[in-house]
């Protein structure tokens, strides 16, 4: 009896040992995710400390960005980031809505999957490809055909005219906004489509029953029902647009200036870092770029966190997907 029991006992003991090692390893790996967030935050604060100490709150409200005199302010990149993201959202939201409506309502069933996959392929294309496409293909077209028209026809208008002043460079905030719109389109579409699909058929049928047209069902029943998810999807797209780097760096113009004109060159936070960091000399310059990174991380963290909180409710229904 004892002769048999001993090996089994030893084996069980070994199993229990392995169990605690494995459990510990999975727990530590999971904690690493939290540590990563904390680490990013701390290292960014650490790195940007010299700049924050030197410029204080003025860093956020100064437009000057002069590596020679070592005067740095984040206002121009922040402005550019916000403006390009707004342009991107103004273009992407209606188109994404249109695609989502088409795919969930009017599209023949056999076409839904291929079109859905095609739109999602847009998300798989690396951002640098959008960058060189924007620089070599889109920007010349905008420069030769679209921007002269905007300057000539919208330029003289009161108020709106201020948005379309100056020479047509091709690159600039508007171009960056358009490229960003294409990039965030698949993300917003995917979420909208998902939430439109989970609208209960019964309430749609009820609306049809009282004589609503197909569009009225979409606009007055499906959209209000899925409002939370739609807003979540939009904010997720916004988070992407705010932090997108490579595509923007190619087409934004990289000028630390605030100009009311949308066709003027500008810069964004991410583009400034990508463009200048490797060449930055002097600790104050590097530190100022780190501070830009900190601002970007905080802004995108808030936007993405809000988006995820809104979408969490939908995911609770066992409908998690990767976007």
């Amino acid at each position: 009896m004892a002769a048999i029991a001993r090996p089994i006992h030893a084996r069980l003991k070994r199993e229990a040992g392995a169990e605690s090692v494995f459990r510990w390893a999975t727990f530590c790996s999971a904690m690493l995710v939290l540590a990563l967030l904390a680490g990013v935050m701390i290292s960014l604060i650490w790195g940007s400390w010299p700049a924050l100490k030197t410029f204080g709150f003025d860093f956020l409200t100064t437009e000057v960005w002069n590596p020679v005199t070592e005067k740095f302010g984040a206002l121009a990149p922040i402005y550019g980031t916000v403006v390009t993201s707004i342009i991107a959202m103004l273009i992407a939201i209606p188109i994404a809505f249109g695609i989502a409506v088409f795919l969930t309502e009017t599209c023949p069933r056999w076409l839904r999957t291929p079109i859905g996959i095609a739109i999602e392929l847009l998300a798989a294309i690396p951002s640098i490809v959008f960058g060189i496409w924007g620089l070599f293909i889109l920007a010349p077209i905008l420069q030769q055909h679209v921007q002269p028209w905007l300057i000539e026809h919208l330029g003289p208008w009161p108020i709106i005219g201020a948005l379309f002043q100056g020479a047509p460079y091709g690159i600039g905030l508007l171009t960056a906004g358009i490229v960003l719109a294409i990039m965030v389109l698949p993300f917003i579409t995917a979420v909208m489509r998902e939430v439109f699909l989970v609208t209960p058929t019964a309430i749609k049928e009820a609306a049809y029953g009282v004589g609503a047209t197909q569009w009225e069902v979409v606009w007055d029943v499906v959209l209000p029902w899925s409002r939370t998810g739609v807003i979540g999807g939009i904010m997720l797209g916004l988070g992407r647009a705010l932090g997108e780097t490579m595509a923007v760096t190619f087409v934004v113009g990289n000028a630390h200036r605030i100009n009311s004109s949308l066709i003027a060159p500008g810069t964004t936070i991410a583009a400034s870092i990508a463009n200048e960091f490797a060449e930055a000399v002097g600790s104050l310059y590097t530190s100022s770029l780190m501070a830009l990174g900190l601002i970007l991380f905080v802004i995108t963290f808030i936007v993405i966190a809000c988006a995820r909180l809104l979408l969490l409710r939908l995911e609770a229904g066992g409908n998690r997907r990767q976007v």
């Binding site: 904690m31 847009l122 798989a124 490797a278 990767q322």
Partner: protein
């Protein structure tokens, strides 16, 4: 038919027609981008593109050292990110099922999934590059592994959750410890799901440029020393596309086509392995 009804119907038709146009526009842009990329990219594809080093301006050359560097750094990045990500995903799906920490970790992971990748570059610069005093391939690989981690954590958790509870119960009934159940029953059952998660992560990081710009930097020459700057396709594309030299621009397009084809093939592979595993379970981006 009353005028009001006619107007409502007309409006409905027009609005849905516009939604169809929006779809056509989205598809047209995709076709435009891919079409240009294939057209411009193939112009730069030749035997020498794959067998020679990156050239000086206005001379002949290829992308060999950049292709090599990208493979090395993506490989190390996945080698670091995949095991840790899978273990973390295992915690979320198995051990931590009822832990109060799990929703928090999952939430933070989802936020990291969409966080700007350039910030990861800054983070690695701060903790590795300034400590080592030099840009290096290992710093680039570390940055890529940090980008890959949340992708793998999330997909692993999703895939493990698809494994039926009855398998866990059956294994437990035979007296297996949880770790044995996980490694001998659940992982094999979810094998193609786990493969999907790695494929998705490779697809995600192989096109990443921003985190490499000031971690791996670039190198015009062949380098296999991990502690020194290493050429990589995304950075070469970035530098060459922005240059005024025509031969560099041609190589930039050629490299962009290479990366895009690689990523698209991986995405399609990931999608089909996921479909194989989950029976219609979607594993897209």
């Amino acid at each position: 038919m009353t005028p009001v009804l006619r107007r409502r119907r007309w409006f409905s038709t027009v609005a849905l027609g516009i939604s169809m146009l929006a779809t056509a526009l989205g598809l047209a842009v995709l076709a435009w981008i891919l079409g240009t990329l294939i057209f411009e990219g193939f112009k730069g594809w030749s035997w020498t593109t794959f067998t020679e080093m990156t050239p000086a301006p206005l001379s002949e050359g290829g992308l060999l050292n950049a292709i090599f560097g990208s493979f090395v750094m993506t490989g190390i990045g996945i080698g670091l990110g995949a095991p840790i990500g899978m273990l973390a995903g295992t915690y979320l799906a198995e051990y931590g099922r009822r832990s109060k920490l799990t929703p928090v970790i999952r939430f933070i992971n989802d936020v990291l999934l969409s966080a700007p990748s350039i910030v990861v570059g800054l983070f690695v610069y701060e903790i590795v590059v300034t400590r080592m005093g030099t840009y290096s391939a290992i710093a680039g690989a570390l940055a890529l592994s940090i980008i890959a981690l949340p992708v793998i954590v999330r997909t692993t958790e999703d895939m493990l959750r698809l494994v039926p509870v009855s398998l866990r119960e059956g294994s437990a009934a035979l007296g297996a410890q949880p770790w044995r159940t996980i490694t001998s029953v659940i992982y094999p059952a979810a094998r193609s799901g786990l493969v999907t998660s790695v494929l998705l992560a490779v697809a995600r990081i192989s096109g990443e440029t921003a985190p490499l710009l000031f971690t791996a930097l670039n190198n015009q020459f062949w380098n296999s020393d991990l502690t020194r700057p290493m050429a990589n396709l995304p950075t070469v594309i970035y530098n060459y596309a922005g240059s005024p030299y025509e031969n560099w621009q041609v190589l930039a397009w050629a490299g962009a086509l290479m990366i895009t084809l690689f990523v698209l093939v991986l995405s399609i592979l990931a999608r089909s392995t996921a479909a194989l595993f989950g029976g219609g379970q979607r594993g897209g981006h």
